[in-house]
């Protein structure tokens, strides 16, 4: 019999410490693990490295961690929805590394799936290419070769982007069974399933915790083996 992974929020917070690299899903403020964020705020950890798509809006979701100065560095595609993040980045209180949204997904997939890197056309000829290796497909020889901007263009080019991995991923589920099979609701899915694959330790907050066997195996998005802990989400934390 597989282990029941449902724990108290306090037990889950034993895994959270200063300086960790944490993946936090969400698109603006949708699909954000609000209960886990509330608990991290209560614990008062600092110097977090956050990997997320954005930082919600001012004072909500990931924006609460921004407001509490819990974040040292953030890797994301967008901060424009949260004026406080922009302010803190401009003032040098938070370091930011931008990554195009699709590339962010692919780098997490690589990190979670044992892939050494990905080749993407996104960002060619933009600041996203700076300092990165570029490869070109040589259709005559049928091989890739590394090129620089000084080389004449002979084929389709791609940027080599490296995997992303985290110590912990915080996941917001619609339903999870007690061993950690997870399904998501509507656009609250966003970065949740991909982040769940790319961290050493995965904590799920679920709106509904159900018994094993209640979820149809065909609709499960995140399989139980990558989930380590499950806590009950509190709808009041969404506010």
């Amino acid at each position: 019999m597989s282990k029941d992974k449902v724990v108290s929020i306090d037990k889950a917070m034993e895994m959270i410490h200063d300086g960790l690299t944490i993946m936090v899903p969400g698109f603006v403020n949708c699909g954000v693990p609000q209960t886990l964020i509330a608990a991290i705020l209560k614990k008062g950890v600092k110097n977090l490295n956050i990997i997320s798509n954005n930082t919600s809006v001012k004072g909500k979701g990931i924006g609460k961690l921004v407001h509490a100065n819990s974040i040292k560095h953030i890797t994301c595609s967008h901060i424009g929805n949260n004026v406080e993040t922009v302010e803190k980045v401009v003032n040098g209180e938070i370091n930011v590394t931008f990554c195009p949204q699709g590339t962010l997904c692919e780098r997490m997939r690589a990190g979670g799936a044992g892939i050494g890197g990905v080749l993407t056309p996104t960002g060619l000829g933009t600041p996203m290419q700076d300092g990165k290796q570029v490869v070109e497909w040589d259709s005559e020889k049928g091989e890739y070769k590394f090129v620089t901007d000084a080389d004449p263009v002979k084929g389709k080019r791609f940027i080599l982007e490296l995997p992303l991995h985290a110590d912990v991923a915080l996941i917001h589920a619609w339903k999870a069974d007690r061993i950690g099979n997870v399904i998501y609701h509507r656009t609250a899915r966003n970065f949740n399933p991909i982040m769940a694959t790319a961290a050493d330790f995965v904590i799920v907050e679920a709106e509904h915790i159900v018994e094993v066997g209640e979820l149809d195996p065909d609709v499960i998005v995140t399989p139980s083996c990558i989930v380590d802990m499950i806590v009950q989400a509190n709808p009041e934390d969404r506010n």
Binding site: V96, P100, G102, T122, R186, F191
Partner: protein, 217 residues
């Protein structure tokens, strides 16, 4: 009809019935109000849905788990599909989206686009724009022809950090429609009462002027 509405009305005519289209935040979303009769398109929203619909009639009744690309509560239509961000950008980069429509700070005659960063002024981030412009089959830029200081936004060469290089296909402004070809920017259509001379005088980029120019309406 103001400039933005006029630009949206013309841009909406690019779409074929059944097209999968990704519309940027702001002016591009206005295209939905001007779809020609008999044209039904599927909105792909980068946050993970095919078949996004409009805002709920009453926001309090909306499902907070359904948002649009700006994070606002929205609705989905019958037949919609929800998926992860990873799947969404697979659709976008994989050429499964017929057209993406975005705004611009600057766009140039080589098809370069700058719409994500003004050094020293903005640092919002690119979000999904770089993937969209690199991946969609057709890239349509909606922009007012000149900035608020009267300076052309359609340049010989962009000066701001790029969103993508050589990817723009069409530029729609309140004055004209420009088509980026291998030879350069072709002036394909003019707005009513706008002359070639006016467009040329308000455009920094070099334009190719064909013998026959169409009308935007």
């Amino acid at each position: 009809m103001n400039n933005r509405e006029f630009i949206a009305q013309r841009t909406a005519k690019f779409f074929q019935d059944g097209d999968v289209v990704n519309l940027g935040i702001g002016m591009p979303t206005m295209c939905l109000d001007y779809l020609p009769e008999g044209i039904d398109i599927w909105i792909e929203s980068e946050n993970g849905v095919l078949g996004l619909s409009g805002a709920p009639e009453n926001e309090a009744d909306g499902d907070i788990d359904i948002v649009d690309a700006s994070g606002r509560v929205s609705t989905i239509r019958e037949g919609a599909a929800c998926f992860s961000s990873f799947d969404s950008f697979g659709l976008i980069r994989g050429g499964h989206v017929a057209a993406t429509v975005l705004g611009a700070y600057e766009v140039d005659q080589e098809g370069n686009l700058a719409n994500w960063m003004v050094p020293g002024k903005t640092c919002a981030g690119m979000g999904g724009a770089m993937d969209l412009v690199s991946g969609a089959k057709s890239v349509i830029i909606m922009t007012e022809h000149c900035d608020k200081y009267g300076k052309s936004k359609i340049l010989k060469k962009c000066t701001l950090p790029l969103t993508a290089a050589n990817e723009v296909d069409y530029i729609v402004t309140e004055l004209c429609v420009l088509h980026r070809t291998e030879k350069g920017l072709v002036l394909e259509e003019l707005a009513p009462n706008v002359t070639v001379e006016e467009v040329v005088s308000k455009t920094d980029a070099d334009l190719i002027i064909p013998e026959k120019i169409g009308s935007m309406v």
